[in-house]
């Protein structure tokens, strides 16, 4: 493990893996807590179109908002168990609200034989 964490290089845009080892998103944005007179601390990592959309050039951001909406899921920093190549969570995706579309798609696919 490297002695220091570079947020932009080691956290942003890295995979998120839940407690049972399932990939459940990518760190689309990082949120800070800052109170006057105190040093800022990391509050949460944010996942979803509402988090990556604004990172696009202005015109595309509008298109992305129109296509994908602006929903986000906040993963509290306290739920992060381990930082490495990917971010490991202490809990399962479902408990935090991640991977909802994936599960809906899975229910739909289950009707097909061999799935």
């Amino acid at each position: 493990m490297k002695p220091t964490i570079e947020l932009l290089r080691d956290v942003l845009d890295h995979d998120i893996v839940d407690a049972s080892g399932v990939r459940c998103g990518i760190v689309d944005d990082i949120e800070f807590d800052h109170a006057p007179g105190k040093a800022p601390t990391i509050a949460a990592v944010v996942v979803g179109p509402g988090a990556w959309g604004p990172r696009l050039p202005a015109l595309l951001a509008v298109v992305a908002r129109w296509l994908f909406g602006r929903s986000v899921v906040r993963v509290p920093w306290d739920d992060v168990a381990e930082l490495g190549q990917s971010l490991k969570l202490k809990r399962r995706a479902g408990e935090i609200g991640l991977g909802r579309i994936e599960r809906r798609a899975a229910r739909w696919l289950q009707r097909i034989p061999g799935s």
Partner: protein
């Protein structure tokens, strides 16, 4: 012993999977139009695909990270998204051409209507990928693609002038008029691009993760890349030779795939014809599968979805839906009646534009000792990596102007 078998199989599948419809088209056409003068481009392109697949495979073995995760981390979100969109457009077009190629071969063998066979090809490909484990897909289509060796046998039977063949490996620009020089440059860029198609790197690295490579497999990766792709490159050389010795000599244009098989039929009779058609079938179907899967890998890796054929579709649902969608869209593209070969020509020109953005993050991570530790690039891999990044960027900048100036290679 088991290890040896694995290396051997890996080499054969890499070799068998090397050639697809674009490479077949451009290698034959390059030989037909310019004889052996473009052989050095085959050498250059084969070197490039080796260098970058080796790096991407090494990253997959050491960090279990696939190319589009790297692209998103290192190119940033916006440039990464641009790469994803372009790469998957190219995947879709390449897949469309391969599906069309499969249907054309079936049509030659059966005489049934083309559009019906396109639907049959779609069903066939989806059922194969849905029901076959990754390892077997790799082996069946890789080993089946080895039948393309019939073109190497044909090339030898044509008894080429070895002095001219050897001279072709020396980088040079023949003395031509202005129009032919542009055409030569276009063929050079297209041939290099067809050998270094971006999906090959994406698929190779994702396949390494599907095959559960570990850091100990770094050596296996290197041998497979160098020997397997080296032999695949030799097959591409043979195709150029077939173009030069058979099609150029007879004044034929190798419109695919029927005419291409004629070269094998000419020296080896009916057996040659059927082996060539069967080899092309496996090569095109294999490439169709690789491009469709590559499209799904790219999307899933960029968006952070679960992916992999080792998971049941219900455990990686969006990944499964994605590769089925690539097959369906690809079939719709060729259903319009557009000639698969012209789809190939467009996709190859645009694929070279995708390469620099895809290769840069691979190089950036492979050379980073903080990430790769003792498996980071040595000076040779670094020098080759930078050399090819510059070369491919130059090719990418030249590709579209050359495509326009030569009217898509028509002169």
């Amino acid at each position: 012993m088991a290890k040896f078998a694995e290396v051997f199989l890996g080499i054969l599948t890499a070799m068998g999977g090397f050639v697809e419809i674009g490479e077949l088209t451009f290698a034959l056409n390059a030989g037909t139009t310019f004889g052996y003068a473009l052989l050095w481009v085959v050498l250059l392109g084969t070197g490039g695909i080796m260098v970058y697949c080796e790096m991407a495979g090494r990253i997959a073995a050491v960090k279990r990270q696939a190319v589009f995760s790297l692209i998103r981390e290192r190119d940033g979100f916006s440039a990464g998204l641009l790469t994803l969109v372009c790469a998957n457009l190219v995947n879709l077009l390449t897949c469309a051409a391969e599906v069309g190629g499969v249907a054309l071969i079936w049509q030659l063998l059966s005489g049934w209507p083309y559009r019906g066979l396109l639907v049959a090809a779609l069903v066939f490909l989806v059922v194969v990928v849905w029901s076959t484990p990754f390892k077997w897909i790799e082996r069946i289509f890789g080993l089946g693609g080895l039948l393309m060796v019939v073109f190497a046998v044909a090339a030898l039977r044509f008894d080429p002038d070895w002095g001219r063949v050897a001279a072709g490996f020396v980088p040079s620009l023949p003395q031509l008029g202005e129009r032919d020089t542009l055409l030569f440059a276009f063929y050079g860029v297209a041939l290099m691009s067809s050998i270094m198609l971006p999906y090959e790197t994406y698929f190779y690295a994702s396949g390494g993760i599907e095959d559960h490579w570990k850091p100990a497999d770094v050596a296996l990766n290197r041998i497979v890349v160098v020997v397997g792709f080296g032999l695949g490159g030799a097959l591409a050389v043979a195709l150029v030779a077939v173009g030069a010795e058979f099609f150029k000599a007879h004044g034929l244009e190798p419109a695919l795939p029927g005419t291409a098989a004629l070269a094998a039929a000419d020296v080896l009779g009916n057996v040659g014809l059927y082996v060539a058609l069967l080899g092309m079938f496996f090569a095109f179907a294999g490439a169709a599968i690789e491009t469709a899967l590559s499209g799904a890998y790219n999307l899933a890796q960029f968006a952070g979805w679960p992916w992999g054929l080792d998971k049941r579709p219900r455990d990686a649902p969006r990944f499964a839906i994605s590769w089925v969608a690539v097959f369906v869209l690809a079939t719709i593209v060729v259903m319009t009646g557009i000639d698969p070969v012209s789809v190939v020509e467009v996709s190859i020109v645009f694929s070279v534009v995708v390469l620099p953005l895809s290769f840069f993050p691979v190089l950036a991570v492979a050379r980073d000792k903080g990430i790769m530790g003792k498996h980071a690039n040595g000076p040779v891999a670094n020098a080759l990596g930078w050399f090819y990044l510059v070369a491919i960027t130059a090719a990418a900048l030249a590709a579209i102007p050359l495509f326009v100036l030569t009217h898509g290679g028509k002169g």
